[in-house]
Symmetry: D3
Subunit: 249 residues, 6 copies
Amino acid sequence: MRLLLINPNTTAAITDKVVAMAHTVAAPSTELVAVTGRFGAAYVASRAAYAIAAHAALDAWAETPGPFDAVVLACFGDPGLDALRELSPVPVVGMAEASIQSACQLGGRFGIVTGGERWAPMLREFVAVRGLSTRLACIHTVAPTGADIARDPDGSLSVLATACAHAVDGGADAVILGGAGLAGLATRLSQRVPVPLIDGVAAAVGQAEALARLGASKSRIGSFAMPPPVDSVGLCAGLAAQLAGRSPA
Amino acid sequence: MRLLLINPNTTAAITDKVVAMAHTVAAPSTELVAVTGRFGAAYVASRAAYAIAAHAALDAWAETPGPFDAVVLACFGDPGLDALRELSPVPVVGMAEASIQSACQLGGRFGIVTGGERWAPMLREFVAVRGLSTRLACIHTVAPTGADIARDPDGSLSVLATACAHAVDGGADAVILGGAGLAGLATRLSQRVPVPLIDGVAAAVGQAEALARLGASKSRIGSFAMPPPVDSVGLCAGLAAQLAGRSPA
Amino acid sequence: MRLLLINPNTTAAITDKVVAMAHTVAAPSTELVAVTGRFGAAYVASRAAYAIAAHAALDAWAETPGPFDAVVLACFGDPGLDALRELSPVPVVGMAEASIQSACQLGGRFGIVTGGERWAPMLREFVAVRGLSTRLACIHTVAPTGADIARDPDGSLSVLATACAHAVDGGADAVILGGAGLAGLATRLSQRVPVPLIDGVAAAVGQAEALARLGASKSRIGSFAMPPPVDSVGLCAGLAAQLAGRSPA
Amino acid sequence: MRLLLINPNTTAAITDKVVAMAHTVAAPSTELVAVTGRFGAAYVASRAAYAIAAHAALDAWAETPGPFDAVVLACFGDPGLDALRELSPVPVVGMAEASIQSACQLGGRFGIVTGGERWAPMLREFVAVRGLSTRLACIHTVAPTGADIARDPDGSLSVLATACAHAVDGGADAVILGGAGLAGLATRLSQRVPVPLIDGVAAAVGQAEALARLGASKSRIGSFAMPPPVDSVGLCAGLAAQLAGRSPA
Amino acid sequence: MRLLLINPNTTAAITDKVVAMAHTVAAPSTELVAVTGRFGAAYVASRAAYAIAAHAALDAWAETPGPFDAVVLACFGDPGLDALRELSPVPVVGMAEASIQSACQLGGRFGIVTGGERWAPMLREFVAVRGLSTRLACIHTVAPTGADIARDPDGSLSVLATACAHAVDGGADAVILGGAGLAGLATRLSQRVPVPLIDGVAAAVGQAEALARLGASKSRIGSFAMPPPVDSVGLCAGLAAQLAGRSPA
Amino acid sequence: MRLLLINPNTTAAITDKVVAMAHTVAAPSTELVAVTGRFGAAYVASRAAYAIAAHAALDAWAETPGPFDAVVLACFGDPGLDALRELSPVPVVGMAEASIQSACQLGGRFGIVTGGERWAPMLREFVAVRGLSTRLACIHTVAPTGADIARDPDGSLSVLATACAHAVDGGADAVILGGAGLAGLATRLSQRVPVPLIDGVAAAVGQAEALARLGASKSRIGSFAMPPPVDSVGLCAGLAAQLAGRSPA
């Protein structure tokens, strides 16, 4: 199986971190190809950076030669998720959505812990869009952003453990450690958290493998079929070709 | 990996069908152990039979020696799902829930096609309990029950294809072919359905493998931790031991 | 009028308590017949015990000769409620549902106070299933279970009063004292609670009498009509006969 | 027991009809006092008439000497329901709310059939306000208003039967025949409707008796306690006294 | 443009305050006509007073000669809003609704600060009726009523500022200063509140001008068209004429 | 007053159309500045084009020298709305949101009619995100896209009138004619539609003027304050400066 991992922010070091974590959970035969956003914020922690990242994710996907069996969108919050699903011939998995769905299979209500306080309302809205507000117990953010945590994971463990404890107090039957920058920390913290603790990258890779094996076909009609062709300007060649309904050159 | 498949109705032939389908989708190294309910209806197609099946699923689970890496509850509608999650030390996957979550990763709204008209309100309520009513496009049942379809799959293809077409017309971006008795039919019908078509058993096995590999720990507190011990009467030894907080003999 | 009271746990002393309370509120001409679950937990305070109690309620109902004018399911949380409604030719009233509906006619939002902390999420989910989440202000549980409180009501009054006060602070316009084991305590506590305080047994008996007098007929079609006959194994004779569409022997 | 029936429209003939029906369902010992609105529309079938009727209900209540054990607001749609609850020392039952709650205890989803097409959106909104939209299957109105039907019940049976059939087709597990003008017709139609058919007046009287016997006290704090005194102008003496926190003269 | 401002309570001093504030925000060419309720409470701070105010708003509207380009209902909580919309040939704007819609265009979730604790549940219910519960962050009331604040605005600034701070802590991206009695205070408090602060009167006048200029026609069918004529008793001549479908004399 | 109109697709002819319509509704003293997206699809009618348009809207805004009193995002569906609100010091109005809010002040439920069938699910989701699903009656799309309609408005009137009629049949109390390409058609169709018909551009300009005059300040904290500075690559100078917290050069 061949998976494409898209990091829609522009920090290659975070891509590397995601890939490293993904290798620890993917099946041995799974091949991982990773790509980093070509434009946008160094890390996504605002509504503006998120909007740009959705375009960057499409751009990165369109410029990466396939084929793949599934695509993993490796930014927790999943910018561009449904747009990618519309264009991609194979399943697209979002890190936040995959984590939430895993959590929902391990308990009644889930909590989210992540870095960067601007993410709390954005993730609350994301959960609402996915229709799962009644399953959300609470969201707790810590002051360091995901990028900060990626640079100093050891220094962040304590504050993350406290946030997880708050999430459990807030009614979470399972806690998601969200954010590409937090990849791998669930393992180190799980002993200190008395409910299932979910690593976003691990959840996403697991869902990608599961959906790829499910073998469901691409929509041929409706909201997730390829859209009617449209002209465009100012886009990379691959994305312009996709919108125009042409095979990329 | 070792999975326990519980068929909570009392028809062993349906258990066999589920196992056969599960083998086609499970990883080669996955071992499957299957068990059939010891009491209850031959197939579940009413609220009463469903309530009994929830007990039968607990009974079957408690009487089957482990350990397992995950449990699959192989009755579409998932009787006893959260009760099993409370007692089981490993993840428990429901066939309906797994299908729904897979569908929600392939489109915006899903449809369900299954056998036996009594299931429609029961499944609509199930979707509501899981918090996903806004993602449900529609449910279409066909007159033959899952058991009927299991006995005569060829004769049911046409009516199922029609029901799938109605589901697509009703706004489904993905269609779930629900019911243990329908295991394996998605493959045969997918050409005739212009959106992703999901086999419930395949979805459940995929989710079970994914959750098992995720390696999240069992809740030690809260609503999905082992409950406080309680005396009981009239239960099988294994289940009584579980409720009493003792290891089964 | 003749009412059947089903206590779906297996502690006859709690059945007696419910009957004693029911006699104080039922019309003088109302005859009460009570039955205790034949298998399952001594008291229901977990998801597993709840699932078993649903079966036990069906079993108890099917084994008790009628006819009755209505059935009261006397376990707060109402295991097996809709399954009983499917089979029973007369109205079935759940203690939690009846309390909630009474509370909703006395104010805008209600609170629930009950024994055993495992009940809080189970009751929150129950309220959601009944569609009334927006009317729920809060749930407060006390550490002693309903069974503990039944054994020592005097010793529990103070902690219950405190929980009721928290419920009022939490926005409850009316407070439900839930649990068969708490039957009769509302009268003793009402002076200390500044909003309407509702006894679950009293609410259920009142609703049962009201629905019986309403005289609405049994569904002949749809989700609450008798289900199509189905074979079964391992059930008591009465329940097997019901599922098979035969009159019990 | 002594019940006050308030008909908040200004047609005494409808009040008489309600009282006649109420006598057939009330306990023999229940005394019924009825009062008709002193101002407003002859029948309520618009948002404007409804708003006026809420005031008229308060006015009628304040001008009628008590005490009563409960109050029945006998206009289907319940204008002034929560305002009456605020002022009244005893339970107040609305005909629509009581019918809905009865229906919700007899099945999963209910339908409403009533006279006058302007009621459909008003009742849909009423159900939403009470938090029960997910339990509503459908509303079907017939062209004649409740007042028309009251004048010619025989001529309306056929069109009402058809509307009930549509409600059942629309997923109703129980159907409410709403409207003071339709009082008594459920009995005549129930044979033709294959699910429970509920008479609004009967449901309201039953709920009033049940709530009165429940004996819950009046709120002393919060949103349904007596409001702080306030001066007023232009109101009847009784209502002015109530708002001012004085006993009526 | 000519706007009618209806103050549905009976305190002319509050009407004057609303008009004064309205003049500061209305376009120079906008003419303002104001009318005070002829019956009801001096100020609205209970469910009973609210129900009466809805009738008083209709009465005031029907007795005021037009024509107008739009109507502003200047009691925060908007008693009689939809009833006025049914009868009025021009748009009707409610102060609470207009504020909420403005707030929803300035952020994700809004808070409300107003005077009189009885308003909190009434406004929470109002927001739910308008379908916007998910956008409501919190409601904070201060002890002085709107009428108290109108009499002593200087003395209320501090407690209002504190309430606004609580609303921001509670997640409000914008805060509404609700209540006719608070008209004009947003300007004085905005420096002390770190998110947009909305004056209810200013929002309502702005929406009235915008809707009037939009020029949409009156409904000719459906729930907001003129209702079918109906006889009435005891109403003012103008309102009786409206209900009867006659032009007011 | 000075408004910025952003057309986030890349067809200048549609920008011209929007400006022409805006001039007919804006106050005489309102100055309009319009800008067209510099990259992306010629018109937005897919999830992918929508995601790109959100970035293009930010890009266009950041590259246009101000100051402005408010910003109008003139693509029905409002790509980038909340991201613009985060960065912009002045109110940002979306054409779809403004239309919906106007409609919600003219009736209970609204319908949307627009061009291009891919918009129906996207708009249904948009309404859900804004929290207003319960106010949505229905969405009807016509086959020609907004761009097609802009090119041949006369040829589209008939099909649009039919769609509006369907919306009214579907329960819409007001109908929104959505889409920049449909600007100005509401006037021509309003005679044929028996409920208020809303032009998206007119609604948006009206809301922009109203919000600008409201004079609420920019959030200084929370989810709509300027985000913390972040480095970026590959963006236009203006947008990079905004993300970095610098004034654009």
